[in-house]
Every structure is written in C-alpha cells, then in structure tokens.
C-alpha cells in the first residue's frame, strides 16, 4: 500500500538545515495497522505529512497504492489525497462554524460527487461513528471524543485506501481514547490501512506493528500480532 524507498526530507532556513527524514524506507501492506512512535522532533509527523502528500520528499521514491507519487504536481497530489487518503488530527481540525454534516461533506465536494451520493456517504459515515443524531450540531457543541469521531467520519466518508492519524487520542482522556482506538480498529478490520502516530504505548500495542523513529530514521520495529498482515521495513 505504502512503499518508501530511501526517502529524505530536509527543512532549510537561512541558518539551519534540519534532516527530518533520512534514508527512510518502509513498506506497508494493504489492510495493515501501523503505529508510529518516537520522541518529539523525531520525524513522525514529517513522515505522516510525506505519506499523506502534504509535503514533497527531497530524495528517494514513494509508491502509494502501486503508483509512484514522488514527482507529482500539486494538483495531482491533491487529487490522490482526496481520493485515497483520509486524515485524522490530534486537535480534530473540524471547521468550527459549520455543522457536523457539512464538516463530513467537505472532502466529498472536491471529488465533484453528486449531492445524492454525498448525502448517502455522509449519513453512512456518521452512522458508523454513532453521531447521526448530532449532524446539525456545530463542533463546539460536541465533546472532544465526539469531535474526533466526526473527524473519523470525515476521514472515512471518501472511502480512502489509507487513513493517516496524527496522535488521534492526544487530546482525549483514557476512556475517550479507548473508544476512538476501538473505532479505528473496526475501520482497519474492514480493510482500510491505518498509519497512526502516537505517544501512547498501550495504543501502539494494539496495532499490528509499531515503528519507532529516532532522528528521522527507523530505529526499532515491534510486531504485536503474528496473525495480522505482515508489515516490512525494507
């Protein structure tokens, strides 16, 4: 599903050059759930941004769903992001002044999807996260856990091949975190590949594999369930 070969990403300012990813190689099979761990500044988020086509890589090669996406134009990256990737963020990133229904609808607009089909998908997604009754509410009227469930509904509404979650439980208490993790596991069980950045070792252990990043490179890999699909560091 995701294959990175010797990927490098450098951030430059006038005075300093930061190697956020160095010679980073990883292969993730379809249907896997991968937890990414590491200290702050280790390169986890940069990896997720490169994987989500939000950042261009400087060196190396990146294949997403079999397609080389290393040298795509901005438009092409947006299109792939829209159709193949769903994002979940630590701070939910919902649009504050529109209701839940329209928040979930946002990515579907950019697929130029007919209104009836949009509606069907929004309702299905909200039902899956258990928030159909709240679809007229605006984000501030929901709890943190509910907001993150809306973000999950938004991420799955476009039926993506992969979901990239950047500390999705970072702003939630334990009970809420567990609910969100349960939801993510269900989505993964239905076949969607998930890459999740987390600081929480208990959550990381629920993934198929944990990849620990240090200084922009893979430091360690832990396999947690032999029965789950294989993931490989190459």
């Amino acid at each position: 599903m995701i294959e990175m070969q010797s990927v490098g990403k450098v951030f430059r300012t006038d005075v300093v050059e930061t190697h956020a990813l160095r010679n980073f190689s990883l292969k993730v099979e379809p249907g896997e759930f991968v937890a990414i761990t590491g200290h702050s500044g280790s390169g986890k988020t940069t990896f997720l941004n490169v994987a989500g086509l939000l950042e261009e890589l400087d060196t190396g090669r990146y294949l997403l769903d079999g397609q080389d996406v290393s040298k795509l134009t901005d438009n092409e990256r947006s299109r792939i992001r829209n159709r193949k990737i769903g994002f979940i963020f630590q701070s939910f990133n919902l649009i504050p002044d529109i209701n839940i229904y329209h928040n979930v609808e946002a990515p579907l607009h950019y697929q130029r999807m007919p209104a009836a089909e949009r509606k069907r998908r929004i309702l299905a997604s909200l039902e899956r996260v258990g928030l159909t009754s709240r679809m007229k509410h605006i984000p501030l009227q929901l709890s943190g856990g509910q907001q993150q469930r809306v973000a999950i509904a938004r991420a799955i509404s476009g039926d993506p091949r992969v979901i990239l979650a950047d500390e999705p439980t970072g702003n939630l208490d334990t009970a809420m975190s567990n609910q969100i993790m349960k939801l993510l596991l269900e989505i993964n069980a239905a076949g969607t590949t998930i890459l999740m950045v987390t600081h929480n070792p208990e959550l990381a252990e629920q993934a198929h594999r944990q990849i620990h990043i240090v200084d922009g490179q893979i430091d360690k890999i832990h396999h947690f369930a032999a029965a789950k699909p294989a993931i490989h560091a190459v």
Partner: protein, 457 residues
C-alpha cells in the same frame, strides 16, 4: 462547484462580518467617488451629433498677426490653433462655395421680444442669427412648421422660428405658426417652432459655455446688416491693425465673431473644400491679409470639441483624484483581505489536506473577492446615485436673471446621468477593484503549505 465556492465565500464573510463590512465600505467609497466624477466626465465628453460624426465640419481660418505677441488663439495652451470663429467677410466668401452640401454662417445675439398678448411684459432673449441650412444641417426637430429658405436669408424675410420654451412662454404651447411677435419695433411672422432640442455640449457655438441652452429665437441671416445686430457672443479682433469704431468696421475688419459650419458627406468633398479654403486664403494674402503660413482647419465635431477642450482640466483632475482615492481604497481592501485570508489560513490548510487543490482554494477566495467587489460596487453605485442627485439639485438652482427654462434641469440631468453605460463601468470597476485587492491575498493563501497549519489549528 461554483455554488460550493459561493457557500464557502458567504460563510467566510459571516465568520468575519466587521472585516467584510469594512472591505465593502472601502470599495463602495472608492467606487462612489470614481463613478460621480466619471459620470460627469462621460456627460461632458459625449458626442452630441454622433450620427453625423464624419459629415459636419467646423471651419476655421488663421487670420492672426504673424508675431506671436499678438498671437490670439481660442486657447492659449494651443497657439497653433487658428481662431475658432471667422470674420464677417470671410464667412460671406466661404458661403459662396457650392462644395458643401450645406453651409451655415451664424452668430448669437440678444433681442427684446414683446409678447402678442396684452399685459405681458417684454423680455430679452438669446437669438441665433443664421443662414437657412442651420435646421437641416444640425437635424433640428420641428414641433410645428419649418425653417426658411436661402431666399428668405437674402430678402431678408420678416420671419422667425421659436424654441419650444419661447412658444410655451408666448403662446402657451399652442401652434403659433402664422402668428406674429414683435422684436424691437418690427413684426416677425412665426414660421416654425422647434421641438425639445438640447445638444450637449452645444457644439455649434461653444463660445459662452459648452453646456448651455440653444437660443429661443432663430432669425434669417439677412437681418444682421438690416438690423445692425450686435454679436451677443465673443468678438475678437485678431489683427493689430483692426480698428472697430462702428458696426460697419466690425463687418469689414479682421475681427472674428461668426461660427461657420459645412456639411461635407464624403472625404472627396472635404478635400475639395480644404483646397477651396486654402486657395481663398492664398488669394487674400495679396490684400495683406492672412500673414501667417496656411493654417486653415476643417475639423469634425469630435476634433472641434477637443480643440475647445469641452471636457476641461477641472473634470479630468477630478477623475484623476477620484481614481487615486479608489487606489487608496483598493490598497486598504488589499490589506484587510490579506489579513482576513491569512487569519483563515488554517481552514484553507485543512481544506487542502482534505483534497482541495491550490486552484480550488484560490478560486474559493476569488469568489469571495468578487462578492465583496460586487457588494461594494452596488453600495458605491447607490452612493453615487445620491451624490449625483445632490449635485444635480445644487446645479439646477436658478440664480437671479436666469430664465425659467426647464431644459436647464435637463442639461444637469445629461451631465449627471447614470446611464446603462455608466452601470457597466461601475460593474467593471467593482470587479476590477475586488480582483485587484484580492488576487494576491487569494494567491498567497493558495500557496501556503497545508501541513504548517494542521498541527496548530
């Protein structure tokens, strides 16, 4: 997708209502100031007889002294222009040419009219003393009757044509053809009444004001000498040796006070006529006249209005100042728009992450820019409408000594009229203003890397 962008734009405006209102107000102020001055400019720069644009020509001859110290010109800014009027003897000489389809020599005078009805007081009014072709050449519409013939000019026949205003005033608007009026101590028979006719600018005689009413009374040319009619317009003696002590001197000396027009429907006629005029002037040189090199200008109405500078520097400066003000408003709106868009950049970043391309984000912001521009334009147009109404009301106020001709209001209307063309200008200006103010902010927000906002939103 447009409806989606429209929805997002309206959402964005609702999110920051004060900022949005400030932008709309800034654009409205700039548009209003610009539209008021552009409308006045448009009114002054109009072509009063466009359908004869390449047929009517004003004729001017350079009668002036050779030395520049006495180089009288209608406009000192353009000493190369010959005087805008011609002398009596030159007018009569030109009138003999049969090259033009029609020719008119004329001037403005003033006469006292005694109404037919007893008890009504005599009143002074502007008179145009002209040759017969005036009415046909300038397409003057008649309410009753007609104009006169060249034979009536020569006679001269005791006949007159009245303006609608004069007919209303003297005869209560009834058909007065065949009736008589007393001018001075003579009786004149009315042969025609002109319908409402208000060429603006009053191109055929721009001496007193470019934006004035046509005369109320029209008399055959022959009465010039018969009644020793004085010019009520501008008279300038353009030779240092001209000495005017009597009416006869005025007719004989190099003093310009007559307007001369020729109707030349084809380019060939115009060229022939130019040769005729040049030959006449060359011939006159043997009598010590026309000491300057040939400088006889036969100009169409458009060129004529430009020579006279009918629009005027004042109007142009007003437009320039208003456009500068609009520029300041655009810069203000630009700043507000940039601040607003950058403030909302995290949401744009989020939309980029969800699949919006740079173009999607730019387009969404441009739709907002256009809405702000159009709202500003609509408000600006409303403000300019009221501004022009106020200007019209002030300029239409009668002052002591002015007649009560309602057409004066019509002149102000023509100068302050927000017509369809002006609506189109306002629309274009609003869109341009909005886009100029918002193009860079929209581009800038589209260029921002989405990842930089996703952690911090």
């Amino acid at each position: 997708m447009f409806m989606h962008d429209l929805g997002l734009a309206l959402q964005s405006m609702r999110r920051h209502p004060v900022l949005s209102a400030l932008m709309v107000l800034a654009i409205a102020a700039g548009i209003a100031a610009s539209m008021i001055t552009i409308t006045v400019y448009h009114g002054r720069a109009g072509h009063p007889i466009w359908w004869k644009a390449d047929k009517l020509y004003a004729v001017t001859l350079d009668t002036r002294d050779p030395d520049t110290a006495n180089a009288f010109s209608g406009l000192t800014r353009h000493p190369e222009y010959p005087p805008f009027q011609v002398t009596y003897r030159d007018a009569k000489a030109l009138y003999r040419s049969d090259i033009p389809e029609r020719s008119v020599m004329m001037f403005r005078s003033n006469r006292v009219i005694t109404p037919e009805r007893k008890g009504e007081r005599p009143f002074a009014t502007a008179v145009r003393v002209t040759t017969a072709d005036f009415f046909a050449m300038f397409d003057v519409p008649f309410l009753y009757g007609t104009g006169w013939s060249r034979a009536d000019d020569d006679a001269p026949a005791p006949i007159v044509v009245l303006s609608k205003y004069a007919n209303d005033k003297l005869f209560g608007g009834r058909n007065s053809v065949g009736r008589s009026i007393t001018i001075g101590d003579r009786q004149f028979r009315i042969i025609g009444v002109i319908d409402a006719w208000l060429p603006q600018p009053k191109f055929y005689d721009l001496n007193n004001s470019g934006f004035d009413l046509p005369e109320n009374l029209f008399m055959p040319w022959g009465w010039t000498e018969a009644l020793r009619l004085p010019s009520g317009g501008s008279t300038s003696c353009v030779r240092s040796n001209a000495k005017v002590g009597s009416f006869e001197d005025l007719l004989a000396q190099d003093c310009v006070w007559l307007q001369y027009w020729a109707e030349l429907p084809t380019a060939a006629q115009r060229e022939r006529y130019q040769r005729f005029v040049d030959n006449y002037v060359t011939d006159q040189k043997q009598y010590g006249r026309f000491p300057r090199p040939l400088n006889n200008r036969i100009v169409n109405v458009d060129e004529w209005l430009k020579m006279y500078d009918v629009v005027g520097d004042e109007t142009r400066i007003q437009v320039a100042v208003a456009l500068m003000f609009l520029l300041v408003c655009i810069l203000n709106t630009f700043g507000l728009m940039l601040a607003k868009f950058l403030k909302a950049a995290p949401i744009s970043g989020l939309r980029r992450a969800l699949g919006a391309s740079r173009i999607d984000v730019m387009r969404q912001h441009l739709v907002e820019v256009v809405i702000v521009g159009l709202l500003g334009g609509a408000l600006g147009l409303a403000l300019s409408f009221f501004g022009l109404q106020a200007m019209r009301a002030i300029n239409s106020r009668p002052f002591p000594g002015m007649d009560d001709n309602p057409a004066r209001v019509a002149i102000q209307q023509s100068l302050t009229n927000l017509d369809f063309q002006m609506f189109a200008v306002a629309l274009a200006l609003s869109l341009l203003t909005g886009v100029l103010a918002g193009l860079y902010p929209a581009w800038r927000v589209g260029k921002l890397a989405p990842s930089s906002f996703l952690k911090t939103q």
